[in-house]
Symmetry: C2
């Protein structure tokens, strides 16, 4: 599952095969089919684990007790770390790009994951604005969609243009949110 997740973020759903994972593990194709009968089930389990992990994180007191700005920094660090790890891309973003060639259950998982990321970001933005730390126009839900989409897109853009381009996007977001009215 670690390898599947890594390949997903690296090459996309259509970019890796059982053979790639088997080779890396030093086992045969069939060994993976034993644990995950179909590719759909394998990737489904990977996304589910990713979702569970995110829920665990945001419900953990170590994140829950952070200030809005610290929460945002923590969230950004997920993407910065992904970028630092061989230019990996957000799992949700990778799946969305291939959404139209994805089996049904994976579309649902992708949708659910994206909703969960957005919901948390929206709540954090709202919390920060109410605390007077963040400034932005309009609905927190819209600003959350803007930020998440640009994080996902930024990771992809960084592959063509380098890590710096991604860091400036993150910094620009912070500058926009923290600019005094």
């Amino acid at each position: 599952m670690d390898l599947a997740e890594s390949f997903l973020q690296d090459k996309g759903f259509n970019g890796f095969s059982y053979a790639h994972i088997a080779a890396e593990l030093g086992v045969r194709n069939a060994a993976i089919h034993y644990h995950f009968p179909s590719k759909e089930e394998l990737v489904c389990a990977v996304i589910q684990r990713y979702r569970d992990r995110f829920q665990l994180w945001i419900n953990n007191s170590r994140v829950k007790n952070l200030s809005p700005l610290e929460k945002l920094d923590w969230f950004f660090s997920i993407y910065t770390d992904a970028r630092a790890d061989n230019g990996k891309v957000c799992l949700a973003g990778s799946l969305e790009t291939e959404f139209n060639s994805l089996p049904g259950s994976l579309r649902e998982q992708t949708e659910a994951l994206t909703h969960e990321l957005l919901a948390w970001l929206q709540a954090t933005l709202q919390e920060g604005r109410e605390a007077g730390v963040f400034q932005f126009n309009g609905d927190p839900a819209d600003k959350a969609a803007l930020i998440l989409s640009s994080l996902q897109g930024g990771l992809q853009m960084a592959r063509a243009l380098g890590t710096d381009k991604f860091h400036t996007v993150v910094e620009q977001h912070k500058q926009d949110l923290l600019a005094s009215a």
Copy 2:
């Protein structure tokens, strides 16, 4: 080439084959290999055509004489139209997601295309700010990267969450840029 471009935006580089194009055209695989010996050459030609088309557009007086706000609306409309056309995704964004499994020449093309999109957006933002129409913090290059990344990411997110989510992202950008200081 039209079909290849469409498939690229729909399924990604690893998501379509010669057979898909041949079937749609009612010809055999080999007929496409006759015109484009390798998939790399086919996709390379598609990106080159896309780049040429963009250069033609931005150098055409119909776009060149537009106001900064109208230029921005025109740029956004490229993405809105793509979204409206069966949920297609930005060509640059699609290629960047699979960047790590792309042949060398396609990486260079993707890089060049992204640079050209960014450069035009940056110039337009700068022009708008100098004309007093746009307000934003920091370097126009950074704001351009933020906007482009969120357009690319937004198109992908819209696949999972629907067209509305993309429109709110576009509206949010306009609101941010036009907000009186």
